[in-house]
């Protein structure tokens, strides 16, 4: 594929609001997870909750979008001069040629939950919950396009935990087809009762901070995040380049991965093939690494089936929690930061690694320059997406 340059990006997650805060958390090995304090939820677990979301005020013509997911999106858009970067982009490329593609799984369901909780026996939503633009999966992309003033194609991708990895593939295809000249991509997912009680019902949630690839891992910690990036052709400077992407389906089970990781391996192979890089060019892998007993093993075995000598790899979910529909963008930003900062983060809480099948998982974060990074995102429905980012020549 023709590489696309990531000319701007931002990330807000439990580890930090904006890139500098996230960088500091990575350097200091400081997790963003906390004991569950989410309202109306009594589960004994740890969550990656973002501070300051409740204080965001969506007023005026944004009031019709008011929900935790869009408040989190707004907090994210306000970091790292992202809105100013998009305004600058619009001076180079007309707004109707800039696509806006956002991944989400929760969207505004938190408000739907609240509307049911607060309605009376008449089963009529309270006026404050009658927000048609919130009770749809499309709310996040519609909101981002409204805030940023983008008039190109506006799409929501909602494939559970691969959603905001697939936005990169979708943007690359739209640009290649001539339907846009640049794209804002991103992902936003927010904590809500549906995911907290839902993953709990599947017995996939740990009562401790998550421990990806550790023998004692007991499940995931749920989190929330908002991340965004600008993708452009022919840009000389930026955080790095999108070199390849691969998408596949397990065709196996709605909530469990294929036992041999066949779909995961197929996505990685397709991304490598599109990038035209040899396997040896990949210097680091940001794993999906949710810390459930099964997922981590299947992913590690899938990596080992693709790479004869897997590069150092890690999951960053110990910092953020599993941010579901925002995991793809969060981990793309981590991958691009690894390229740009020449810093490879290890996983947190990895005390007793699974040496037999995960010996390549990084134990200690380290300074190291690498030329290309692979980022994996896998979701319910057997939806897999792998992305490859490359370092921009200085």
């Amino acid at each position: 594929m023709k590489p696309l340059t990531i000319t701007a990006m931002t990330l807000t997650c439990a580890a930090g609001t904006g890139l500098d805060a996230v960088r500091r958390a990575l350097a200091e090995g400081r997790s963003g997870l906390r004991a569950n304090d989410f309202p109306h939820c009594s589960l004994d677990t740890w969550i990656g909750r973002v501070d300051g979301v409740e204080e965001i005020d969506l007023a005026g013509d944004l009031a019709e979008f008011d929900c935790r997911n869009n408040r989190l999106a707004m907090l994210g858009l306000q970091q790292d001069d992202f809105i100013a970067r998009v305004d600058a982009l619009k001076t180079r490329i007309p707004a109707d040629r800039i696509a806006c593609i956002i991944g989400t799984s929760t969207a505004g369901i938190g408000v739907t939950e609240e509307a049911y909780r607060d309605m009376g026996e008449d089963e009529v939503f309270q006026p404050r919950h009658r927000l048609p633009r919130v009770h749809t999966p499309h709310t996040s992309a519609a909101f981002a396009a409204r805030v940023l003033g983008l008039d190109g194609p506006v799409l929501t991708i909602s494939t559970a935990c691969s959603s905001s990895a697939k936005v990169f593939a979708s943007a690359a295809r739209l640009i290649e087809a001539g339907l846009a000249d640049a794209a804002v991509v991103g992902g936003v997912d927010s904590l809500c009762l549906s995911v907290l009680y839902g993953f709990h019902s599947l017995d996939l949630v740990s009562d401790q901070p998550c421990r990806p690839f550790d023998r004692a891992r007991k499940g995931l910690s749920l989190g929330e995040a908002a991340g965004f990036a600008i993708l452009e052709n022919d840009a000389a400077t930026g955080f790095g380049q999108l070199l390849g992407w691969g998408e596949s389906s397990d065709a196996h089970h709605m909530a469990s991965p294929h036992p041999e990781g066949a779909g995961a391996a197929a996505a990685m192979r397709e991304a490598l093939q599109r990038s035209a890089l040899g396997n040896a060019a990949i210097g680091y892998i940001n794993c999906h690494g949710t810390a459930t007993p099964l997922n981590d093993e299947v992913e590690a075995r899938a990596i080992a089936s693709v790479f004869d000598h897997p590069p150092p790899a890690a999951s960053t979910k110990g910092w953020t929690g599993h941010t579901l529909g925002a995991a793809g963008i969060a981990e793309s930003v981590f991958s691009l930061m690894a390229l740009r900062d020449e810093f490879l983060p290890a996983g947190l809480n990895l005390d007793d690694p699974e040496e037999e099948w995960a010996g390549f998982i990084l134990r200690q974060s380290r300074q190291q320059r690498v030329d290309a990074v692979l980022s994996n995102s896998f979701g319910f429905g057997g939806s897999n997406c792998s992305l490859i980012f490359g370092r921009l020549a200085p």
């Binding site: 494939t159 979708s170 339907l179």
Partner: protein, 262 residues
């Protein structure tokens, strides 16, 4: 921006229009097939048909017809499932249960609550290991789905199945999504040059308002009832009725679709 493509299969499933012949009859002025039923799913066993979420059953009903007409196994095309609201039946279940007994939430219904449940069941039922995606454009999901499908066609010379569906809401959401008739429509697209297409078409981006040639009143009513049924004029064009269709979008460009000049 002009993209040429061929349509090699199509399907429809909604009350009164259970399959493609029923649509053709309605387009010829013979009214709706009031008692018609879509053929049972070949991908879901009778047991799975009882367990599968409504969104899967609704979308499969059109998608299986389109694949059969195209002469493709359902595993062959990459697939784009586009829906404005997803599975509203499960949304109602989830929100009621979370209000009353959150600890009793069903794990099966939770994993079926993801927007890609229909596409996930499709992949599992069909054995489709290629990409199967799920998108949303709220009321503009037909336009959004076609944009995504056309971009995929440009990317790889591989047939693309597009399914656009939306259900009616249960419970209090009906006031915000007042649709009366569940609808799904499906197309199988290939690059221009197929030997036996149903229709050879051209799509151009457009900022014009939604437009199509006059259709029988009962079809026009469906378009007003369910945003997914905004696919109907394009299905009619494929069936030979009308010359041009514009699918608009509240945000971003719409698509003007016309017969390709040969």
């Amino acid at each position: 921006m002009s993209l040429r493509f061929d349509v090699i299969g199509a399907g429809i499933a909604t009350s009164g229009l259970p399959d493609w012949p029923a649509l053709q009859a309605a387009l010829d002025g013979r009214g709706l097939a009031e008692d018609g039923k879509s053929p049972p799913s070949a991908l879901l066993s009778p047991r799975e048909r009882r367990r599968a979420p409504r969104a899967a059953k609704l979308s499969f009903a059109a998608a299986e017809q389109a694949c059969a007409m195209a002469g493709l196994k359902p595993a062959e095309p990459v697939a784009v499932f586009s829906s404005g609201m997803g599975d509203l039946d499960i949304t109602d279940y989830m929100c009621r249960t979370l209000k009353e007994h959150p600890e009793l939430l069903s794990p099966t219904r939770f994993h079926n609550s993801v927007h890609n449940a229909a596409s996930g069941y499709w992949s599992i039922g069909a054995g489709a290991t290629g990409d199967v995606t799920a998108i949303s454009g709220w009321r503009d999901s037909a336009t959004a789905g076609l944009l995504e499908a056309l971009a995929r066609l440009n990317d790889a010379d591989h047939p693309v199945l597009l399914v656009v569906y939306d259900d009616l809401a249960q419970g209090p959401m009906r006031s915000l999504w007042p649709t009366e008739h569940a609808f799904s429509g499906a197309l199988v697209l290939t690059r221009a040059g197929h030997s036996k297409p149903l229709a050879r078409l051209t799509a151009d981006t457009s900022n014009a308002p939604e437009q199509h040639d006059a259709l029988p009143d009962e079809l026009t009513a469906r378009i007003a009832d369910n945003p997914a049924a905004r696919l109907l004029p394009l299905l009619a064009l494929i069936a030979g009725k009308g010359a041009q269709v514009t699918l608009a979008s509240e945000q971003g460009p719409g698509l003007r679709i016309s017969r390709a000049e040969t």
